[in-house]
Every structure is written in C-alpha cells, then in structure tokens.
Subunit: 728 residues, 2 copies
C-alpha cells in the first residue's frame, strides 16, 4: 500500500514505480468447498483476447493479472469510437486507416482501462467475457480493479497541495487517468470553490454590518445560487465537448440484473431490445410515496423528539445533572440517525432493485434520488424544526415541553426535587445549530472520511502482516514470490484490500453543503466562509482518498454530474422560499421587545408575501440569467457545431468532390448566363414536342429571349405614360 | 378574382383552370418620371436562369411573368437540400445522382416556389438576383407573388366546409401548397380546436352545477392549459420532423436592411459574417422599458377612464339621456383604442428597426413580442381593472366616481337637475364584459376580417371595371390582350390587387383568445363553448381568406409557431395567478350578504395563499406533464433519431464496407480465439526484441498460455485449501 510518505519521498519506493504493464487485477476468492470455475475464468478472458498470469493473493485468494494485447486494443478503440459516432456521442468518424486514427487521437489510460473492463464484463453475445463480479457463476470474483499509477499520483498530490487551485490541465490529467466521471467531480469542486468566494464575502459583510436575517444577504445569496447553477450547467456542456463525451449518457450500459418480460425491436437501431412493462414499473415506483412518508415519520419523530428534549433540558430543566443531561439528545441523535438511515437506505436499495431498470444509469439515478430524500431529511430537518416551529411558534411549544417535565418527574426518584425555569425563545439557537452543521459536523466528517480509514488501514495491515508471518510458519509449503516481483505483488495485495472509491458519496457531501448555504445561510451568514475553508481541505483530502485510500476506480465516462444537477436546482429553488421565510419569521421573532400580541393573520400575510416575492425574484433571476447565458453562446456548443459542420463538409468532399461541397456551403451561381439561353431553347423544344397545350406554349413563346421582353416592356410602359399624359 | 361562387361551381370558370406554368408574377409600377431600371430587372432575372414574359397590368403597371427552367430547378433543389443537410436541418444527404434524388423525394409546389423566390431576392454574391421589392433600386417592384392554384383551392374549400375537421392529409396538402409556415397555423388551429372540447365541457358543467368562480373549474382549466401547452410543444416537433423541416429555424435569412459595423469569421462555418455590436443593440432594447411604460400609461388611462365613466353612467348616474350616454364610453373606447394602438405599433416597428437585427426571424420575433404587449394591454386591461379593482375595492371607488359626478354637474346646464343613485358593486359586471369579449367582439372581428374586405373588393372591382372601360374609350391605342390569354390576365390583374396574407395576424387572434380562456374564464365558464363555435367558423373563414381574399403567400418554411409559443406559455402561467385571484376575490365579494367588515388583512392572507397554492399547482402539473411526455418519447424525435442512425450506418457501409459497419453497430468478436495465441506470441516477441525491461518481460512470460495459467492457479488454490484444512 502506498502511504502519503511513500508518495512524497523522491526515492522510488519499491513496488510503486512500475505496474508491470498490468491493466487489471482480478481478486479471486478461493471457495472453501464445491465446484469453482477458475479454469473457465481464464478461458473466458483468453477468448476475448486478454493475456493472464496468476499469482498468490492473500491467505484465501489468488490474483489474476490481466493485460490486453496492443493489437486488440487498437481494434477495440477503433470499434468503440465508430460506435460512439453512430450513437451521436462523437462528431468525427474515426479515420479509415486504423493506425492513423490512433495517431490522431491517442488512447488515454482511461480509455484503455474502460475498454478492457467492458471487454471483461460485457455479455458474451456482445463480444465480452461476461464476467459479473460477486454474482451468479462468478461469485468467487471478489473484485476487478486497475492498478494505481503511483508516479502520476505522486505528482498529482504534490501539485494539488502546492497550488491553490485545480486548473484545466489538472482536470485533463485527472480525466486521462481516472475517467470523466471522477474528473467531473473535481471540475464541479473547482467551479463551486471559485463561486463560494462571492457568498463568503457577502456573508462576511452581512455578518459585520447587517447582522443575521438580512434581506439583502438573502437576495444576494438567491441570485448567487441561480447564477452558479446556470453557469455550471453550461460549464458541464463545455467540458463534455472538450473531453469529447457529450452525449455518452445516451450510450447506456445494460444492467445485468435487469429482468425482461418480452423482446421488441429498437425503434432506432432496429436491434432486438428487452422490454419491461413501464406500467408495472410505475406501480413499483408509486411505493416511493409510502417510503418517503415512512422516512419523514421515522426520522422526523426522532429529530423532533431529540430537539424538543434538548430544548427542555437546555432551556427549561434546571435540576440535577443538567450539564450532563444536555448531551443526552445529541448522543441519541448521533447513535440513532445512522442506524435508521442505514435501515432506510437498505429499503431504498431494495425498492430500486424492484423497480427493475434496464440500464445502470437509470438504476443509479433512481437510487441517488431516494438517498437524496434521506439525506435531505437527516441534514435539514432539525433546522426546519427550529426555523419553522421553534422560532415562530415557540410560545405554543410549552404544552409539549410539559410532556418532558412530567416524564422527567416520573423517572426521577420522589425525593429528588428538580426545578424548571420559565421557557423563553432563544433566537441564537439557529445560529448555534448552523455552527454545529457547518463547522463541527464538517470536521467530524473529515475525520471519518480520511483519518479513520487511514488508522484502520494501518492497523489492519499490521494484523495481516503478523497473520501472514504466522501462516508462513504454519504452511512452509507456500509458494514464495519471485524476488523481483515480491515488492510489486505485496503492493497489489494491499491495493486489493482497499475500499472501492465511489464518487457519489463526494457529490452527496457537496450537494448537501450547497443546501445548507442555499436554505439556511441567512440565519448564519458566515456559513460560506466556513465552507470555503472546508472545501480547500476537502479538495486535497479527496485527492488523497482516491490516490491512497481507495482502489483505483474504473474510469467510467460521464457527460454531466448526473442526477445531482436536479438536486442542486431543487435546493436552489427551495432556498428562495426558506430564506424569505427565515428572514421574515426571525425578524418578527427578534422584535420580541414590543408586545407579541400582533394578530397571527398579519404575520401570515407578511410571510406569504415574502415567500411570493422571493420565489418570483428567483424565477425572474433565472429567466434573465438563462437569457444572458444563451446569448453568450457556450464555447463548447460552438465547437461542437463547428466540428459537425466540418465533418459533414469533409464527407461531401469525399463523396461529391470539392466543387459541389463548396457550392453547398456557399451557394453561388457563376456560369448561368451562357446556359440560360440554351436551357430556354431546351424548354421550348420540350414544350413543342410534348405539345403541352397550345395556350401555355404560346404564352411563353410570345417574347423570344430577354431582349424582346425588355423591348415590349418598354413599349407598354411608354404607352401607359403617354396615355396618362394625354389624359392629363 | 376568384369568388366563392367561382370556386364552388363545377363548370370551369375561365382563367382559373390554368396558371400557364407561371411561377411568379412581378407587379411593376410604372414610374411617372425619372429613370427606371426595367431592363436591368429582366436582365437580373434572366441571369439567374428565369424565363420572363411581360404583359400589360392595370392602368399604371406592367406584369412580369416568371418561370424557372426545370433543369435549373433541379439544380437549385439539389443544392438547397445539400445545404440543409450541412446546416443540420436534414438527416439524409441527397443522393449523389441528381435525378435519382428528385425521384426519391419529389419537389412540392411549396419547395419550388420558395426556391424560385429565394433565387430572386437573395443578394447577388449568394447567387440570387438581389431584388428587394419596394426599396432602393427596386422601389418600382410593387410586389412579387405566386399565383393561386385555384383547382386545389376549390377542392380544399369544399373539403373544409364539408368535413368537421382538418386531418393529417389536409395539413400535408396545405404544406405542399402554402408552405410549412401556413401549415403550422392550421395544425395549431386543429389541435387547439380539439383540445377546446375539454374546457368547453368542463365550463358547461361548471356553469350548470357550480356557478361562476368555481375552484374546481379553475383547477381543471389550469391543468388543461398545461397539458395543451406541453402537448403542442411535442406535436410541433413531430410535425417538423414529419415535414422534414426540423432545425430550419437555424437557417436564417439575412435581413437586407441590416447595417453592420464590422466583419468577422463565422465560428462554425468559417465564412465572413457581418457583426453589429450586441452592446449597442442592448442599449436600444432597453428603450423597450420606457416604451412598455408608455403603452401602459396611454392605454391604461384610456381604459380606466372609460371603465370608470361607464360605471358611473350605468350604476350611479340616473339623470336624463342615461340610455344614450351608456354608449358613450364604448364609443370612446372603440374609436380611441385602434388610434392609440396604431400609433404605438408604429413606435414598436420603428424601435424594432432601430434594434437592427441580422436576420428576418429575429426581427420578426422582436416585433411580435412588442405587439403582443400592446395586444395584451388592449385586450385584457379592462378585465384586469374589473377583477382587481372594481370587484374587490369597489367600495373605495366612490371618491373617484365623485369626480365624474362633479364633471357631469359642471357640463350640464344649471337648470337640468340630474339624480344619482347609491353606488353598489355589481358582480355580474365581469360576466357581461366576458360575454362582450367572447361573443360580441368575435362576431365583430369576423365581420371586419371576412365580410368587410369582401364587400370592399366587390365595390373596388366594379369601380375598376368602369374605370377600365372609360380608359379604353380614352386611349384606343392600348394593346388588347390576346383572346386566349385575356381571361387569365384579367384574373392575374385581380390577384395583384389583393392584400398579402400574413399568418401573424391569425396567430395573434388565437393566442389572445387562449389568453381570455386561461386568464378570465373562471368568471364566465361558458367562454370555451363560445370559442369552440367561433373557431369552427374561423377555420373555414381562414381558408377562404387565404384562397380568395389574399394573394397566394410565399411558402416559407418554419419548424414551430415561433414567438407565439412563449406567449402561450406566459398566458398559461399568468392564468394560474389570475384564476386563483378572481375566484378568491369574487367569492368574498359575492358573500355580500354577511357583514363586509372582515378585516382587509385576512383577505390579503387568503388571496396570497390562493395565488401561492394555484401557482405551485401549475408548476407541479407542468413538472408531471413534462415528465410523462418525456417518457412517452415523441414519435417525431424517434423517427429523426432513426433516420440519423440509418444515415450514419449507410455512410459507414459506403466508406468502410458492410462488415465494419455491422460490427460497429453490434460489437461482437467471433474470430478472436485463433488470433489470441498468435497475438500473444507477437506480443512476447515484441517484448523480447525491444527488451522492454527484464522484470516486466519475466512477469508475463512465467505462465506460457492459458493452460499453464489454469494449472498454476489450480495448484495455488488447492494448496491454500489444504493449508487451511491442515490448520483447522
């Protein structure tokens, strides 16, 4: 395993400097009993043109090393590019000459690894080996993973930690090594980080001069979120064009688990496709409604209970152990929320499987959507409770707090007499909560995401080494590694132990963060400043996470950030509503000095008006920003159009010759004059031979040629003029 | 001129049964003095390959008849189709073989006429004759128009009046004769008419059972407008694909009046394009804000004045001449509104010219947008005044009505004493107004649109015939028509006198009608029923208008209803707000039996909540409908995708041969097994000759071939198992 130290030291650490040309490693778990199709694995791989070598893995596995022959790779690349073109994901056809095509557009690591992976997992009828890790016939295939390119990783981590920012070149390199799917995450981070400077500055200003709950800050924040969202939508397209992946989301990989009802002909390609009744799927999808309701009830009850308990303990209860009891609600929350979340996530996964999607992308998007609902609830519900229940209607909470009081009285022994104090609303509560979510929670998150796995890994490695020594003593018969491979194999064994990197988790984190900013930052304007600091660390820790604490991801392609875009749009819209509500409610709650006897109806009137105005400000801003963005014409789209145009022109030239193609591009007639006379004569001959009809023939032959027409026209005109003159 | 009678009688009326093969007629006004470039007109036409004949026109014009030679037409068609393909408006390239291409896809009347027209008006550097009617050098060219195909018109009018509905075949025929631009209007009418049945039924039901201002009807109407709008958006695309015009809106015709500042290279085609600074244009566009404000002030003042005067006269004034005076406000409105509108429309036209758009479409869209603002104000402002001022705040109007009272008292002679009665709000007012707008106004409109021009034409024709007889007696020198052409020429002279048909006016009418339905129909649910009847007549009268009372339009292409789509969307959205407001306001105004002392704040609260709920119902419905529409996959888009795919596959086949193309479409490897061994050997040889590095070479050569790998793998596995067993 590579450690940060390994990557940083200039002396090449053993086993990290070369991959021995290995494309993929299969970690094959040795079954304890029964039949196992090891031979058929090797056969399947060899049949699709892959070279294999087998080595000892850890105690209970063997490692199969896989390489593709260059000749086959070229073939695969060419075929895949042609297919992309057919599906509309490429503007250029690959050159007819294979080696020329590869010279024009060299194969990146990511393309190579993607194609090799597809070759292994595609079904046999589509020319792949049909290996499905961890399922069915191939349940012993624990994982298939590419090896890290540690010399690149070393440079990358160094560059990232030295520079302030990821730039375009970095993104291109990330794309070449880890694929567009990961590169899009870093591009998003980069854009988001740059944009964060605006609300951070505005928030700092608001905090200094305007205080909490400022209308002005709310407007700026709303406008910012609209501009950011629209800008990113365009940037996404530009990047997709730059990376030549625009439209790849239309090329779908079928989900192996998909169960079909019948086969039909694809309306576009005419190939047979598998069909599952959309009505049936819709019926399953409708289960999402009770599921969402269940999530709201379960998590809502938990959060409301803990929050009201906390309010009771902190602001009402004044008896013994108050300072210890204050931690009780937090402890309950910290323990119970992940537990419930895990259970509900399992439900969500099961539900998504039941929805039986045809493609991996559709399945993934449906899952992300459900998880987003869960995350939304766990992340924001406490804040919603505070802003929409505690602050405006705190006074009405007293009866509910009485419940805790009686419960507390029942629980405590009769002889202990505890005190309660009068309850009063504390407007600082929301700021405290925001501080918790933006600072404490992010630090905790960093710890669980980076430090804990690191420590865990170190410990596990120690344990494994000890075990391995023991087992070596145990079975002396064990084959020893070849000395020149030993370091490399040790490193591969360690990489096999690492966790898979899933970019979804990182996106989720950023989107939820964007949500705090958009929904609640009026309550604590320093939010964006904290996120700015956090994300500076995050970008580095994410790089370390991919390079060191995870197996190298399969470099999938992507042409956008996928379902997260909708989530961003939703949060941005919802922000316009919550911000207005928070500002209105908390401003009126803050004016607690005066009599609080203002009629509820006037409050409702103001609240609704605030929401209405704010939401229409949001829509208006969106309309204007979109209009401006459209006028500015995205460079990516322009480039794409140009490529399409050039490709077509080239095709015309090839098929019809230079001249026709030029004429079509710029229509111009130069040679007509000579021909006209002849054509007219032809026409006349045609008419006279066909005898099309005396009157028509006569009509067109009355004036023969241009000169006669002009002459007769002049006569008519002068007659008319003279006629008029005579009359006058 | 054709009359309805001519078209209906089965015996062929003279002059209507043949067009003598004429494509276009140029009406050339004879100048009273100075130089006139008649010769250069004929030369310009002949040079681009057109045959000409000249005949006497009316007293002050000559008629130039134009025909294209078939050979040139084929060339033009081929070139234009290639260009469409280059610009992305066609999926198929035209066949290499010209005559084959024309056989595969025959040239419709509309295509022929469009290309001939373009040939005449395109600038010289683009291969046209550069004729710009009524401006510059060509100011004597009063009009260029194609001749009606009266035998088609006869059948069309007959079919339309006999059948209940226009069907797909009719649309295709309209498209073939009048071009897609007109065909889209009839397609829109057809869809709109069919959809109208729903709100008509719902409205009738509501009127019978629920009365005015029903929540339920408002919801149904809102949902209907969303579904109609989204459905039409898809239908538009389907039609565009079916007619092969999808994307033609990207092929822009330059506006001859456009003034450019500098030239630059087109980023896509690399050709020189003319540029006008968008900043300058934006500055001019900002003038739209004062323009809109001026429109609101001018038309608003007029409408508010007349409305309050009308209220005063009808509901307060009780003195002499009341029954005559009641017409006064209407008369003022009827006289002043068109006057002001005309002035403001001139401003709008001037403003649009100053905005200096590059293309005809952009110019047209900008003009339509401004006119829509004007139409919006003149059509809906009176109703807005009633619903948002008169009904809710009628009580507060009393002081303003006092103004009229004092004015009336000042005007009337002292001895006439007139009475006023107590003012009270009359909720029936809005229904009366709606009745006026949906019935009276539509009837008046029909009269001005169809009957008045018809009568005018008849009278003018009589006058002209008398004049012509007189002038014949006057100047006996006048050339007489050839007897076999006389009827035809007389008919052409009449057609030259007709007005140009502009589809914009018809669209405007329908969109404004849709607005009444969407914005105010809750106030009078029978609205849709009236429109249903009206549109049944409208469809027929529009057909008659095109076929008889207008010159045949230039058959332009279009791929949508253009700027009207946005207007529809806007009205549909605004409808969700006004309907909710009307229902809420009028329901509370209607509850006049109880004390009207309910506090204004509660009303405001309810009003805002109604608007908020209704608008979100609208957005929700839109979201769901769009989702469903997307799932349903438009047949047009599917067809387009299929055509693209097939075209690409064909190209691959032509360039690379059948085999490769099949492989790319369905990637499959069949022949690898034999090659694998050889490739591996090649690879091994390559490594050993290049000496790529001892360790790597050794790594991959340790197990030679599949069999060895399997053997060694099995050994490793069995050792591991036995090791475990020993331990256990």
């Amino acid at each position: 395993m590579a450690t940060l130290r390994d990557l940083y030291s200039d002396e090449k650490t053993k086993g990290l400097d070369t991959n021995f040309g290995v494309d993929y490693v299969i970690n094959y778990k040795i079954p304890q009993e029964g039949e196992f199709p090891f031979a058929s694995l090797i056969e399947a791989l060899t049949h699709v043109g892959l070279t294999t070598e087998v080595r000892r893995g850890d105690k209970s596995s063997v490692l199969v090393f896989i390489k593709i022959a260059d000749k086959f790779l070229a073939d695969q690349v060419y075929r895949s590019r042609l297919q992309d073109w057919l599906q509309g994901a490429r503007t250029n056809t690959a050159d007819k000459d294979l080696s020329q095509a590869l010279r024009d557009e060299p194969v990146s690591d990511a393309e190579r690894l993607r194609l090799v992976y597809l070759l292994m997992v595609k079904p046999k009828n589509e020319g792949g080996a049909g290996i499905t890790p961890e399922s069915g016939k191939w349940k012993h295939v624990a994982s298939i993973f590419p090896l890290h390119n540690h010399s690149f990783n070393r440079q990358w981590i160094k560059r990232v930690s030295r520079k302030g920012q990821t730039d375009e070149n970095d993104l291109d390199e990330i794309r070449d090594k880890f694929g567009e799917s990961v590169a899009f995450y870093f591009a998003f981070m980069q854009t988001y980080f740059k944009f964060l400077v605006v609300p951070a500055a505005a928030g700092f200003g608001a905090w200094m001069f305007l205080g909490q709950f400022s209308w002005l800050y709310a407007l700026v924040s709303c406008l910012w979120s609209v501009i950011f969202f629209e800008f990113w939508k365009q940037r996404e397209v530009d990047l997709a064009v730059q990376w030549g992946v625009r439209g790849v989301s239309n090329i779908q990989h079928p989900r192996p688990q998909f169960e079909f009802e019948r086969q039909a002909e694809d309306p576009i390609t005419g190939e047979p496709v598998k069909i599952y009744s959309p009505i049936k799927r819709l019926q399953t999808q409708l289960l999402q409604i009770p599921f969402a309701a269940a999530c709201i009830v379960v998590l809502g009850t938990l959060i409301v209970t803990c929050n009201s308990l906390e309010i009771f303990i902190n602001e009402v209860y004044n008896g013994p152990f108050q300072s210890y009891l204050a931690f009780l609600p937090t402890v309950i929350l910290v323990v119970m929320t992940p537990t419930f979340s895990t259970v509900l996530t399992k439900f969500a996964t099961r539900l998504t499987e039941m929805e039986n999607y045809e493609t991996i992308d559709a399945h993934h998007a449906a899952l992300v959507q459900k998880e987003f609902v869960l995350n939304f609830l766990t992340s924001y519900m406490a804040l919603f409770f505070t802003t929409f229940v505690y602050l405006p209607f705190g006074d009405h909470l007293t009866p509910y707090l009485d419940f805790w009081r009686t419960t507390a009285q029942k629980i405590t022994p009769k002889d202990v007499n505890f005190q309660t104090q009068e309850f009063s609303i504390n407007p600082e509560r929301i700021s405290k909560q925001m501080f918790y979510f933006t600072v404490t929670a992010q630090v905790v998150n960093f710890a669980t995401e980076v430090i804990v796995p690191y420590v865990k890994r170190q410990v596990f490695q120690e344990v494994r080494e000890v075990q391995s020594k023991m087992s070596k003593e145990d079975s002396a018969a064990k084959i020893k590694d070849q000395p020149e491979e030993a370091a490399f194999l040790e490193r591969v064994r360690n990489e096999a132990e690492l966790e898979t990197y899933d970019v979804t988790g990182d996106y989720r984190e950023m989107v939820i963060q964007f949500g705090y900013l958009s929904l609640f930052s009026v309550a604590w304007p320093l939010t964006a400043c904290c996120f700015l600091v956090n994300n500076w660390v995050e970008m580095r820790s994410d790089a370390v996470k991919i390079a060191i604490s995870s197996r190298r991801p399969i470099p999938w392609r992507a042409d956008s950030i996928g379902p997260w875009l909708n989530a961003l749009g939703f949060l941005s819209w919802l922000g316009s509503i919550t911000s207005a509500s928070i500002v209105f409610l908390c401003r009126s709650a803050g004016k607690g000095d005066g009599p609080r006897g203002t009629p509820g109806s006037i409050q409702a009137w103001g609240l609704l008006l605030s929401i209405l105005l704010s939401e229409h400000f949001y829509f208006g801003a969106q309309f204007v920003v979109r209009l401006v963005m459209k006028k500015l014409d995205s460079p990516g789209l322009q480039r794409e159009k140009k490529e399409r145009f050039m490709m077509k022109k080239r095709l015309l030239e090839e098929n019809l010759g230079q001249g026709v193609s030029d004429q079509a591009a710029t229509p111009g007639i130069e040679k007509t004059e000579m021909i006209t006379m002849q054509a007219l004569e032809d026409e006349a001959r045609r008419i006279s031979t066909q005898g099309h009809g005396g009157a028509e023939e006569a009509f067109w032959l009355r004036q023969r040629g241009m000169a006669e027409t002009i002459q007769i026209g002049r006569n008519l005109i002068s007659q008319s003029i003279s006629g008029n003159t005579t009359k006058a």
